[in-house]
Symmetry: C2
Subunit: 385 residues, 2 copies
């Protein structure tokens, strides 16, 4: 893709926001871009204009004064709330890491072709989100689900749309109503109004869940007996075995991705870095993350094909309660270079989360047609010359 020329005003992409020039663009229409890897592990909270952007459709133009959020439910009434209504309710902050299910898809493409944007490892980042808790809003408007046991899912819909449909999906009711789930209707990102690319004026924040469920430009919430039938819930964001081809896939057989699995990535040094002979140590840095509120227990780094693993120093949120650790862990590790090393070497990383889940060794056995959840050991090649 190349940056598009001037557009006529009735083009749906005529009103896209300005973007930071350092973002690595994967597609212009819709806009999809990631944070350069070397900038990622610098800061625990990613600057707003450097956070990856994953848009499925044009960015809608929204006037905050006209905006209304509709909340409804199967067998229930419906309520419309203005931004003013929401901002009167109790404010709440959560620092949350969001990750696209396609992060590191480029590694999966090396095995065999997949359908999807060509993300490297920068489709992830962390922001402080401020807004109102969903459970507080429901209490305020008298939306009592306790007599509606058949309600199993919370549908969401964004204001972004093409000719036929709006972006949407659903999350399980257990997450939506969990007192410790921290689901938020957010109107600030890093202490400012949410930028247009990230969901102005209101975004659904579902901590520990895949980016796709953190619906931008939130228009509707609907409590339902059934899972959303939106394309992005039913025929996308699922994985199948590496032997399942597009021709064979039965989308009803896979469950929608919600909580993300454990992962870790080397952000520095970059691929292909050359060190002089006799270098004693390389400083390696990166991020690790696990979904569902699970924290990172350990990050192991190797430069000798896994014969020796060095446990990295971890920087995490020290305040996080058990299974409520919504942000990533940054890590660093001084990696000793075996004496007399010369030629190409591979740095590898793998993490263990607080549930003691760990990453698969190889990418070929988690390969899937959509190239999702590429969380095998991350590798970076360097040279000693």
């Amino acid at each position: 893709d190349e940056e598009p020329e001037m557009l006529s005003d009735d083009d749906p992409f005529a009103h896209e926001p300005d973007r930071h020039p350092a973002l690595k663009v994967n597609s212009w229409q819709p806009f999809n871009a990631e944070t350069p890897s070397e900038l990622l592990a610098d800061k625990f909270v990613t600057p707003s204009d450097l956070l990856y952007v994953r848009n499925h459709l044009p960015v809608p133009v929204i006037d905050e004064n006209d905006y209304r959020l509709e909340i409804s439910g199967d067998g229930m009434y419906s309520v419309r709330l203005s931004m003013k209504d929401l901002k009167k309710m109790k404010k709440h902050n959560v620092v949350v890491t969001l990750q696209c299910a396609g992060n590191r898809r480029n590694d999966m493409k090396k095995v065999r072709e997949v359908k999807g944007l060509d993300w490297e490892q920068g489709a992830i980042g962390t922001a402080k989100w401020t807004g109102v808790r969903l459970i507080d809003v429901l209490q305020q408007i008298g939306f009592d689900l306790s007599n509606h046991a058949e309600i199993r899912h919370l549908h969401f819909e964004g204001l972004d749309k093409d000719f036929s449909h709006n972006y949407g999906g659903s999350i399980p009711i257990e997450k939506a109503m969990d007192r410790h789930g921290d689901v938020l209707l957010a109107y600030e990102m890093n202490d400012e109004p949410i930028p247009r690319d990230h969901g102005f004026p209101l975004r659904l924040i579902v901590p520990g869940y895949v980016g796709a469920r953190n619906c931008k430009w939130l228009a509707k919430l609907h409590f339902s007996f059934d899972e959303s039938d939106n394309h992005h819930q039913q025929k996308d964001y699922k994985t199948f075995s590496s032997s399942t081809a597009w021709e064979d896939v039965d989308w009803t057989k896979g469950r929608a991705i919600q909580e993300l699995p454990v992962t870790s990535v080397i952000c520095s040094p970059p691929e292909g870095t050359t060190y002089s002979k006799g270098t004693k140590e390389i400083q390696v840095r990166g991020y690790a993350y696990s979904g569902g509120g699970r924290g990172i227990n350990r990050v192991d780094v190797s430069i000798d094909e896994g014969k020796t693993w060095h446990s990295a120093k971890l920087k995490r949120d020290p305040e996080a309660a058990y299974n409520r650790e919504w942000a990533w862990t940054l890590w660093s590790c001084p990696l000793p270079i075996p004496e007399g090393s010369t030629g190409p070497l591979t740095i590898m990383v793998k993490a263990v989360d607080t549930s003691y889940n760990t990453q698969p060794d190889s990418i070929e056995h988690i390969w899937n047609i959509r190239g999702l959840l590429a969380n095998s050991w991350h590798k970076v090649g360097v040279k000693i010359e």
Copy 2:
């Protein structure tokens, strides 16, 4: 170990219960034995007398009429409850899979020696537990933690002891107090009083957590500011990198195992089974499990070194709510034998849970000094002759 001869009455092991002769014994004193693999995947609920037994100490002799449970807390009062008191409260059932952290340690021993009992894959099983919910008990006795935010852990202690200490440990307060965590004080197992080997008269059931926290012969619960300093919490039930030796280990650096990672095992055919040339298909069966209430999304089976993966048919609890699936998933898969196959073949299995975590490919990179959490792909060798 051999079965011990008649013991004098003051021997601490003189009062052990009778055991089912089919159990595969790993140690007699304390008694540790597992379910034969072929019997495991037969039934969703394991018969009580065939469930694995993991005892750290002699089985205590307890008179139900004299028995009292003590509940106390830092900065709180203490309460003593009889079995009669507990049985008056509201009854609750949960079907829970328990697994020893050492299950499949024998596979880890093949890499390098480890310290611990030599479990094969039968240190796991499922039972229906009946009793009272911990949160209901606390409400009944007026134990209100809402004004005790500094309390972070629930300690437990069993009546099993040696000269210096009782068995014990702790779980995070978040799990203990979770309305959907289903923590139980159980007095029945599979609709009968809990057998002595499994914790008569009262066992703490912590669904989704490692067996070690499901304290048998429960004597004390104590709400505390700090994690338990019991040996089994601090210097056991933790893993370190495969480069960490006994001499190097700093136990304070690892977190205690609580929720278990995803795993899957082939129960049938048994290792070394021989099939005649021309066999078209092998029926493969086994179990899969993930901790923290996560269910199993998919089980993949291969007989060609991972070139082809076949997704198995799953038998799970259809009623389980999201992240509240405490029981395992049984699976079966008709595995086609490549035409003209002859000689040794390896059947391999790997599972994906509902958080999309998956198993590591190889065992050597998760090897650890205590041989815990051996959840790499399970393999069974068969022959075509």
